[in-house]
């Protein structure tokens, strides 16, 4: 009998339920990128002079550089002059000048359709939400309660206006404007994103969540997120993202910076479900993201959890700089690719402080004709004593036409370091599937059970309701007719 799993792509077909487009009047600037564009964006946001200069510095550096091409990713050249760098629903553009500015009803509907409540009246229990539509943040819930505790949760644009000292103190200190090509592009043109500040000793009682939505065509989305946890503070943050189905590629280049001072803890989770293009690889989001956490203080801890289930191209390595002694970095990742999707993702753990520890758990699932690469760096600097790393990178292949790669770099320059690395690549087990099917469970559900089981260690890191969402998302990704 022919091995059913060998009959490739038809086995697994996703259905993208977030692919609709919202009709809104847009305030759009012309396509193209030059210093004028940047000044225009900065002006639209009503930014102070220092911010404009900061952006320009990034832009000037970016102009001199070229796109990095070392990742195992294949995509045509991106024409940066053919992208619109600012688009906002018209009714929104004045929001930040007027406290009781209305949210465009179409935008509100969009988020309702996506299951994201943006009104205070309909807010989620235990989760504060910021929603970003194309280039602007449209709503942030739970503000008052958080404010009473001294926690700031707002859009980055508001933060630049209302808390300039905090922003100036921290922005670009983890990912400088000249860090890499995409980060510097983001620094030049970022339009919105979230800002979180949790003061000393405060434990944020709710999950903070941002939901990013690309709606407009030919628009890049460049959000910037900055999270600061002062001494002993704790915050758990989650971001989600979707985009309409379009047959042209769209660029998304985000930067996220996390800063944890002494004894602070930041948990950052992502459920990424950008439109991935169709089965032939037409359309989809190019996702070039720089995420980095800085364990600046002693005993601080930063955890990244990511479920990467969408985007045509994913280039993303959430990292931890473990500077404070005894600080801890964690990276838990599930990356599922299907059809013609390509993902090159992983992490960097840079051990600078003594007795710093890091854990990496990566689960890659490839199906269809996709390519899925884990790329990770564990580095222990020469004078960092007693550091530990544990890495486990597992890949599962569903079908015979996909590929999986594991590219671990280990640079232990101090002899006291203990580094453990495990990696496996396997085909989804026919015996496991048969066992489940022999109990009445159909093949599709059996695949989804096995794959979800494979990812359990990572899903366990997510807040409860998001773990459920992640499980469902994976199921959806693995749904389809069997060839």
């Amino acid at each position: 009998m022919e091995d059913k799993l060998g009959t490739d792509s038809a086995l697994i077909q996703e259905e993208y339920q977030y692919g609709f487009v919202t009709q809104v009047d847009e305030d759009r600037i012309p396509k193209g990128l030059n210093e004028e564009t940047i000044r225009l964006i900065s002006a639209k946001k009503g930014e102070p002079e220092w911010m404009t200069e900061w952006r320009l510095k990034a832009f000037r550096w970016w102009q001199k550089k070229s796109e990095p091409r070392w990742a195992l990713l294949n995509y045509p050249e991106i024409d940066y002059q053919d992208i619109c760098y600012y688009s906002a629903p018209k009714k929104m553009t004045d929001r930040f000048k007027n406290e009781d500015g209305e949210i465009d009803p179409e935008v509100r509907k969009t988020f309702e359709r996506l299951g994201i409540p943006i009104d205070e009246q309909h807010r989620m229990e235990g989760v504060a939400v910021d929603a970003v539509f194309d280039s602007v943040s449209v709503a942030t819930t739970h503000r008052e309660m958080l404010k009473d505790m001294g926690i700031i949760f707002c859009s980055i644009s508001e933060a630049i206006r209302d808390y300039p000292d905090l922003v100036r103190k921290y922005l670009g200190t983890v990912v400088p404007q000249t860090d890499n090509y995409f980060a510097s592009l983001n620094s030049a043109v970022f339009t919105d994103g979230s800002f979180v500040f949790v003061p000393k000793g405060v434990r944020c009682p709710v999950e903070l969540s941002t939901y990013f939505r690309i709606n407009s065509q030919d628009t890049g989305q460049f959000e910037r997120t900055l999270i600061i946890a002062e001494e002993g503070a704790y915050v758990s943050y989650l971001e989600g993202c979707t985009a309409p189905m379009r047959d042209t590629n769209q660029l998304h280049a985000a930067v996220v910076e996390l800063i944890a001072l002494d004894d602070a803890q930041i948990k950052y989770a992502t459920i990424q479900n950008w439109y991935a293009g169709d089965a032939e690889g037409k359309g989809g989001i190019y996702n070039f993201v720089t995420k980095r956490g800085h364990c600046r203080g002693k005993r601080s801890k930063i955890s990244w959890t990511q479920v990467e289930a969408g985007a045509a191209i994913t280039w993303k390595y959430p990292s931890c700089i473990l500077q404070g002694d005894h600080s801890v970095g964690e990276f838990y990742s599930v990356a599922v690719t299907n059809d013609r999707m390509q993902a090159d993702t992983g992490t960097k753990m840079i051990h600078i402080g003594n007795h710093t520890r890091s854990t990496i758990v990566s689960k890659g699932i490839s199906a269809g004709h996709s390519a899925n690469t884990y790329r990770g760096l564990v580095q222990v600097l020469p004078d960092a004593v007693g550091c530990r790393n544990y890495s486990a990178c597992d890949s599962m292949l569903v079908g015979a036409t996909c590929t999986a790669n594991t590219v671990p770099y280990i640079q232990a320059e101090n002899s006291t370091a203990i580094i453990e690395h495990e990696a496996t690549t396997s085909k989804i087990s026919e015996d496991q599937l048969f066992y489940l099917r022999s109990r009445g469970i159909d093949e599709e559900s059996a695949i989804s059970l096995v794959v979800n089981g494979f990812c359990k260690e990572v899903f366990k890191q997510l807040p409860m309701e998001f773990a459920v969402e992640a499980t469902k998302l994976l199921e959806l990704k693995l749904e389809g007719s069997i060839g």
Binding site: Y435, R437, R439, G440, I441
Partner: protein, 255 residues
């Protein structure tokens, strides 16, 4: 009597290697049959083919369950018709808890609406007590790190949960201690009755003291070489398969 479960001239191979060579066997409703045979004679192959393992290719013959040839059905469809296989080597499924697996399986066979989660759990807990599986296993990953005996009990627990009408047990007794053997047999005997057919694959007489077969078959080189009454178990245990080979082998191998 109309046949309940009937295998006719079944031929099957794996990776081009013939394993079953025209095997026939009939289990009537309400009967228990024992199947014995030397290592490698094809017992597990038969069990897997009955359940529809995709790695085995059926090259001839038929398997009828209540008159329907099930060879065209997917494993899950066979399970939903009331077939069950207790595996000789149950595989582990990391990350999938016993509770969630059993609920999925039960719902797949009986439909989601049939039992509320609470009722299901109540019944499940009772079954667990019956076969001596600790309640903490509900939250463990299926067969992951289970001892040999625990895996076998888990197979019987699944069987009680799914209440099949025709079951094949592939060496469920192997590796069980005396107490476990009794418990497992009691579990099976809960299902044994007028509406149930059972095929017990075993190497040992001792399980047949608890589960009483009506007939016994000896499989040699992928064919039933000999069938008889339960009284022949003793002789097999004492004299081994050479006796069958000498007496029936030539004939069996002639085909």
């Amino acid at each position: 009597m109309s046949s309940y479960f009937e295998i006719n001239e079944l031929k099957a191979e794996i990776e081009g290697k013939p394993i079953l060579n025209g095997l026939s066997l009939t289990v009537a409703k309400g009967e228990t049959h024992a199947l014995m045979g030397p290592n490698g004679s094809g017992k597990s192959t038969l069990a897997n083919v009955i359940m529809g393992h995709p790695a085995y290719e059926v090259t001839g013959g038929e398997i009828l369950f209540e008159g329907e040839n099930i060879l065209e059905l997917d494993p899950e469809e066979r399970a939903r018709k009331g077939l069950f296989l207790a595996f000789q080597y149950p595989v582990a499924v990391p990350g999938v808890t016993v509770a969630s697996f059993l609920k999925h399986a039960h719902d797949a066979v009986y439909g989601e609406k049939k039992l509320k989660a609470a009722e299901f759990l109540k019944q499940l807990r009772a079954d667990m007590d019956f076969v001596g599986v600790d309640q903490t296993f509900l939250n463990r990953y299926l067969n992951d790190g289970f001892s040999g005996g625990e895996k076998k009990r888990m197979e019987i627990l699944q069987m009680l949960t799914l209440r099949p009408r025709m079951a094949v047990m592939d060496e469920t007794d192997s590796g069980l201690d005396i107490d476990a053997l009794k418990v497992v047999s009691m579990g099976v005997n809960k299902l044994v009755g007028a509406e149930f057919g059972l095929l017990v694959i075993t190497h040992y007489e001792r399980i047949l003291r608890y589960i009483h077969p009506d007939h016994l078959h000896v499989l040699i080189d992928g064919k039933v070489a000999f069938s008889g009454g339960p009284e022949l178990v003793k002789r097999l245990e004492e004299e081994g398969y050479d006796w069958v080979r000498n007496e029936f082998g030539k004939e069996a191998l002639m085909a």
